[in-house]
């Protein structure tokens, strides 16, 4: 209880001068202490979060993933739809530092590959042409694109200068499309669908949970029964059923939003419970009582007084909810009931890996799955660190 009262007071103190050491004490020993004593709630959280090394690293990975998601066209070396029958199931191109004669080159390079069909096995065989080195350069002109549907461009973060040489960092798929470029493009939908879905669940969760926790009594009971009911249902069959009802002729954008709505219809319950728990605790606080006594409206109490004081917990809960959404979207798309071609998400890409024969032939088709795991783990650890830091007055 005291924690929250302190929590309310702290931001007021944040404006106080931070460097006013008592003259009787040594300055260095005091500096750190004073920082803590007058730091705002958010500064304290930052201190606490910084100590959680793994969370910090994962936070950086999460930010990187979203940066990639924002600039996919520029970061991907090729157009994700560019087909090349001669490169079907081509293994990842090796990036060399030593050439065929064993000389070291500081700038990594690739060799061009030629493919030939083996007339005995009817499989494509790839041979490196070691006569010409193709260094991998930064900022190369290549496949044209239209960024965010607004700007035309053909500049790519990296690539080889010779347009006739194609390199496949993570191999090629059945139609000879570059798996790496496709994964980069998939980042946009996969990472954002979690974010949009969580924001949507958050809005539902905060309204329902806030109302339930604030009013208590019968309202609370009814809302809790509804949440329990939704939680007791197996989610994937429900998602499948709802997703199967989407009209087949919808555009990518429509399906995208429909899927986020479907995911949030069930996903809001967890957030509502977090909000309710915090709201129940806050309801008893003196500052809420004070606001109520001075005649503040209920909506205002909820939005202006209660929400800001459990914001940090909410942000942590949100971060932890994003990976669930990502997994759900991947699972739905993988089963063919989520996003469909021509949309590119990690789940859609994994459809290529559904068949055991293609994975055995081209294990790199599982690479989108690795991205899912990386994103999910990074978000989980990041959210974990945030949750620990969310309550800086604990110990």
């Amino acid at each position: 209880m005291l924690r929250h009262i302190l929590g309310r007071k702290q931001p007021v103190m944040a404006g106080a001068p931070t460097s006013a050491p008592e003259p009787t004490q040594p300055v260095e020993a005091q500096a750190e202490k004073i920082d803590y004593a007058v730091a705002s709630e958010w500064e304290l959280m930052w201190y606490k979060f910084k100590r959680h090394r793994l969370a910090l690293v994962c936070g950086v990975i999460v930010i990187l993933l979203y940066v990639v998601a924002a600039f996919v066209e520029f970061i991907a070396p090729y157009n994700p739809e560019a087909q090349n029958p001669a490169a079907a199931y081509q293994a990842p191109t090796r990036v060399h530092f030593f050439d065929a004669e064993g000389n070291f080159h500081l700038q990594p390079f690739v060799y061009g590959t030629t493919s030939q069909r083996n007339l005995d096995t009817f499989e494509l065989e790839f041979v490196e042409d070691t006569s010409v080195r193709h260094p991998i350069q930064l900022f190369v002109r290549g496949d044209g694109y239209r960024m965010w549907g607004l700007f035309d461009g053909n500049l790519h973060l990296f690539g080889v200068a010779d347009p006739n040489v194609r390199f496949y960092l993570l191999g090629a798929d059945r139609q000879g499309r570059d798996v790496f470029s496709r994964i980069v493009h998939g980042t946009r939908i996969s990472m954002s669908i979690g974010l949009v879905g969580v924001i949507l669940s958050f809005v539902i969760g905060i309204v329902v949970g806030g109302v339930s926790g604030y009013f208590g009594g019968t309202v609370d009971l009814v809302v809790q029964r509804i949440i329990e009911f939704i939680r007791s249902m197996p989610t994937i069959p429900l998602w499948l059923g709802l997703a199967a009802a989407l009209p087949a002729d919808w555009s990518i954008l429509q399906v995208y939003f429909a899927i986020t709505v479907i995911l949030s219809l069930i996903g809001w319950t967890g957030l509502a419970q977090v909000v309710r728990g915090r709201a129940l605790a806050l309801r008893e606080e003196d500052f809420i009582m004070a606001a109520r006594l001075s005649g503040t409206s209920r909506t205002r109490i909820i939005m202006r007084h209660m929400v800001p004081s459990f914001m940090s917990h909410i942000i942590a809960a949100l971060t932890l909810a994003v990976p669930e959404m990502i997994i759900a979207e991947t699972a739905l798309s993988f089963l063919g009931l989520g996003l469909r071609y021509p949309a590119i998400s990690w789940g859609v890409l994994l459809q290529e890996a559904q068949n055991l024969r293609s994975i055995a032939l081209a294990p790199w088709l599982l690479a989108p799955g690795v991205m899912v795991v990386v994103a999910v783990l990074a978000l989980n650890f990041f959210g974990d660190g945030l949750r620990d830091a969310a309550d800086p007055y604990k110990r």
């Binding site: 499948l240 890996a353 599982l366 999910v376």
Partner: protein, 327 residues
């Protein structure tokens, strides 16, 4: 205790009623009624349509009538054991899903048992030996387990078994037992195949429950009653198992409420990947071809299954913890 069980049983009735409504709404969502879709499939297949049969179906399922009438016809049929007719398979739904439902139950229960059998001892170990190498190892593994979607695990496992061991891990039966009647040999064959999907399914739950068990037990271990027992010279192993573990077990049992829906959910998609004869692949194809009575029956039964599981866990919890049944 008897009163509590009755109370709990009464509470499940509205839940199951609500579930049936949700399932019905979902099967009604796709545009058009399925009978038109069915007729279209028949016509494209060049089959002659018997108008009398169509009319009979139409009136049997109350198509064209208000939704509540259709719902009433659907649900009263189910209460009488008639789950409707599968247009895709040309057979009554009840004939189709019986064995597959059984397999889903077996798979889910097997994974649940596995989740408990593995996470309980590891959770206790992690708490008692907090910050030991073993604790760090299991913490790391369980975080990975939480992060990897189980269908991905199934895919990787299949790929690994196929390329490294040269065997295929799909299915729940060997070929000769797939359609055979039940016999002891078939049960043994089932057990020999069951453990792979059960482990794949259980990993996520195991990871979660290790965390919960560890946290619960860590809360209990510094309590005074533990110190008292230790001061009296009780053997450490017996002490831990007899008192703090028993207390820590309560939240553990109550998690069945979310573990079970999770396992049933997961079994759908893992079954599709591993090609298991459960309801999963059938639900998927039924939804894709809008075979709505089949899909509706599976949705309904899966949800009822989890509700029953939760009911059992609540009763178990009340039996373990008297505070709950007197509340």
């Amino acid at each position: 205790m008897g009163r509590y069980i009755i109370q709990r049983l009464v509470l499940t009735i509205p839940t199951i009623f609500a579930i049936s409504i949700v399932s019905f709404v979902i099967i009604q969502l796709p545009p058009g009624d399925f009978l038109t879709a069915y007729i279209a499939t028949l016509e494209s297949g060049g089959q002659v349509i018997d108008q009398a049969q169509i009319d009979a179906l139409r009136s049997q399922y109350g198509l064209g009538e208000p939704l509540y009438v259709q719902y009433f016809k659907w649900i009263s049929g189910i209460l009488a054991g008639d789950f409707g007719y599968s247009f895709q398979w040309q057979r009554p739904v009840s004939e189709l899903i019986g064995e597959r439902m059984l397999m889903t139950v077996i798979l889910s229960v097997a994974s649940l048992l596995l989740v408990w059998a593995i996470s309980l001892p590891i959770g206790i170990y992690s708490a008692v030996k907090q910050y030991s190498v073993g604790d760090y190892f299991f913490t790391f593994v369980s975080f990975i387990g939480l992060g990897v979607p189980n269908f991905l695990l199934a895919l990787v496992l299949m790929w690994w078994a196929y390329t490294q061991l040269g065997m295929s891990v799909g299915g729940l039966f060997s070929q000769q037992y797939a359609d055979a009647p039940w016999s002891s040999a078939r049960v043994i064959d089932l057990l020999a195949h069951l453990w792979i999907p059960a482990i794949v399914l259980a990993i996520g739950g195991i990871a979660g429950l290790i965390r919960i068990m560890r946290a619960n037990l860590l809360d209990e271990l510094p309590r005074l009653y533990v110190t008292t027992a230790r001061a009296k010279g009780m053997k450490e192993g017996r002490l831990v198992l007899k008192y703090p573990v028993r207390v820590a077990l309560n939240p553990f049992v109550s998690t069945i409420g979310w573990t079970l829906p999770g396992l049933v959910s997961g079994s759908i998609i893992v079954s599709v990947v591993l090609n298991l004869p459960t309801t999963g692949p059938m639900l998927l194809t039924a939804l894709q071809s809008q075979d709505m009575y089949l899909a509706g029956a599976i949705l309904l039964l899966l949800s009822v299954l989890t509700v029953i599981g939760t009911l059992i866990s609540d009763i178990l919890l009340a039996w373990l913890d008297p505070r709950i049944r007197f509340n």
